[in-house]
Symmetry: C2
Subunit: 207 residues, 2 copies
């Protein structure tokens, strides 16, 4: 059974939630499910401070419709909308390599849904791969407290199967078989550069 | 004569203006001075489509304070503020190299002010340089319709001089001597990768 490409994609509720609020937010759900992102941000900060890598989260794209410019104070955005990111959430530089990845977590035990990964994000990652960058997913099964690095190629097998009417999620077993467990360290809660070393750089996946 | 570091920095009016509005904006000044950014975005789009490079503008960081979640429609941001970017405006991947740059334009003829370049942006670029990336400024003198690529090193000379009480702008002459004119092409209005090839890759500035 085949479906027209893209027709099964539900609007992502994650993509319309605010991220990284320093001020108090009036929305109680703002930080729901954002533990992985927070852990990666802290890890990236540690990598930066210890001079191992320069990797940042990109700001969430916002479409601004209305702005006030009060005298003697900062511009106030009065109406704006979250936009779907056209690239990945994180990118940067490590040992001369361009690093580019997307992070997703789920409370499911059996699988992670593909519904909030967007076509153009996958297209972006294919381009990064083609131009000599290192690209992958970081996937956390939060109930099991297990975080994996899944390279693009095994991801694409499931993604393309889905586009041909296959399952709408990637089984945990598949990720465990084709991905790599990311070690937890106190200073680097998602110590993914260790895996990048082993798999991509020393492992010869990239030259 | 020395000044305490940072005390002479005026708030940047550019940094509090909306960028990339698809919807109509009520602010008449929204796109003031944004020609260079637009030209670079178009150039990057051409590089992407012609499979030469994957380089994007990062979204402007916005601090969201208040969001409405109306039923059956998208979240509406009701109060938010522009933040100073902590990194550069553009980054990406070209021939396996990480590319990271900042773009500035001025209507002045004699010099470009340093006032809307931030400390943390310069620190970021020093890190990129150290970790094996290619980093530079694209500077346009819009009255002369001339656009330069200025590598980080000659920029730093002027930047550090400024921090020690030196002049608060970089003279056009200095940029002409230490930078490279970026050729204009119809499809790539700011064809900076041509200069990146000549200066950094073939020119041996990076290996």
């Amino acid at each position: 059974m085949r479906y027209p490409k893209g027709s099964r994609r539900k609007p992502s509720s994650n993509s319309i939630q605010p991220k990284q609020n320093k001020h108090q937010t009036k929305d109680a759900h703002a930080n729901r499910g954002m533990t992985l992102e927070k852990d990666i941000n802290e890890t990236n900060h540690y990598y930066l401070e210890s001079e191992q890598a320069v990797i940042h989260k990109k700001p969430t794209p916002v479409q601004v419709v209305n702005v006030d410019y009060p005298k003697r104070s900062a511009a106030v955005i009065k109406e704006a909308y979250y936009q779907k990111p056209s690239t990945t959430d994180f990118n940067g530089l490590y040992r001369g390599y361009h690093i580019d990845f997307e992070a997703k977590e789920t409370k499911n035990k059996q699988s992670i849904p593909l519904s909030n990964i967007h076509d153009h994000q996958v297209e972006h990652m294919k381009r990064i791969d083609k131009h000599g960058g290192i690209t992958f997913f970081i996937i956390r099964f939060s109930k099991m407290e297990t975080t994996y690095l899944l390279p693009l190629q095994p991801f694409l097998k499931m993604w393309e199967a889905q586009q041909n009417g296959g399952r709408k999620s990637i089984p945990h077993d598949y990720i465990a078989e084709n991905g790599y467990v990311i070690p937890f360290r106190l200073q680097a809660k998602v110590d993914y550069l260790k895996v990048v070393d082993d798999v991509f750089i020393n492992g010869g996946e990239i030259t």
